[in-house]
Symmetry: C2
Subunit: 244 residues, 2 copies
């Protein structure tokens, strides 16, 4: 989030956009926190104009919300939306994997396998940040192999929003056998794509999504029970107060 070397003409907006995006999806900027234009124009050493443009582009991707005549804020995580979020995610898992099975071309599998290897390594080294990032890249690359830019863009947007959820819940207890299970599921997907088995890909995508949903439900449930043990007077989890 700190200012780096001053970029050339035209690159300022992209710099700000990329850095803010990174900070948002990695929760360095927590949901609901204000994005003050003057403060940002001081942190990055530039005028408010490119800052504003970056904020508008972030808003278009759903990463922040512009309150008219008030400060724009990092998009809150609306937990009520989680069911429909996973509905969308599940469908895109299925569609992208299925499409990749049917339409993947020479070289696609190599790229997919490369991301898969990176993910497996992140699991081995227990690098949570790398796990989340490489997992996203893995699925985006599959979507690209499916050759439908409309789906790819939509899926990438969903996955980015999902990275924030994953940071909150998914990989919290790193001492866990489940990430390895996902490595296996990914392997099965790659294998099915290579064989061109669309139906199997569809099933694997749906199962993968189901797995993730159940996983997060478990964490939320554990979360609430552990919070309840603290007594009824305290709010369940103050950290979630920014949702809405």
């Amino acid at each position: 989030m700190t200012a780096s070397a001053r970029p050339g003409r035209g690159a300022s907006v992209q710099t700000v956009y990329a850095q803010l995006r990174q900070a948002i999806v990695e929760l360095a900027l927590p949901p609901g926190s204000p994005l003050d234009e003057v403060r940002l124009s001081q942190q990055f050493v530039m005028s408010r104009t490119p800052i504003r443009e970056a904020l508008v582009r972030l808003a278009a991707n759903g990463l922040d919300i512009t309150l008219p005549n008030r400060s724009t804020i990092v998009s809150p995580i609306d937990f009520e939306r989680m069911p429909v979020y996973f509905e969308a995610l599940s469908l895109m898992y299925r569609v992208s994997t299925r499409g990749a099975a049917i339409r993947h071309e020479a070289g696609d599998l190599e790229k997919i396998r490369a991301h898969q290897a990176a993910y497996a390594e992140a699991v081995e080294t227990r690098d949570v940040s790398a796990m989340i990032g490489t997992n996203r890249d893995f699925h985006v690359t599959i979507a690209e192999a499916a050759g439908n830019p409309y789906f790819t863009a939509f899926f990438a947007r969903l996955l980015d929003e999902g990275r924030r959820l994953l940071r909150l819940y998914y990989y919290q207890p790193v001492e866990d056998h489940l990430p390895r299970r996902y490595v296996d599921e990914h392997e099965a997907m790659v294998s099915a794509i290579e064989k061109g088995n669309a139906e199997l890909c569809d099933e694997l995508g749906a199962a993968h999504a189901t797995q993730i949903v159940r996983r997060i439900q478990d964490y939320i449930a554990r979360d609430m029970t552990s919070a309840m043990r603290l007594g009824p007077a305290r709010r369940p989890r103050p950290r979630h107060s920014h949702s809405r």
Copy 2:
């Protein structure tokens, strides 16, 4: 596209955005035409700043493309993308109609029927512009009834992009029996939604999309044969030169 009454603080951007969007989807601004900031700031009577912000937001919705250090242009229609476009559109027809069958609530059907009636009237009066607009509203309202904002936003974006295609091909010969057929198909969809028959909705959505694809394919084929009759020396359709 002309300047209207000067709006208040904060409304300028929305005004420019809405007007440009309208002009683009209705092909008043043809694909590939440049969106000059200074010219626009003269047409609307305001500074370049709100113009730029509107252009950025349009770019985020895929309606224009910003060429660095050059003028931004209205997004070209890439005819090579049409197959994958219809793949995406077809899926969203199915998902939104299916979802509406399962999750529609009180009052949703009334809104859907209102749009359907407006569409039917547009067909009767042979108002092409109204047909395209009401058709979009009809499907967006179904998507809203399905209650998944992720799908709704994606679908709306696809339908807006589709409005340009429709203007180019779909409703060109107004003397046609097919629009009435779509009225019937819409009726069937509403009925299936009301009954909560998700599987039937899925099939109707897929059939609706297939119908539209075949229709446009017919027009393109007719287009090319009629162009070929002009002789081999002339390019098939100069109007398509802006694609890519």
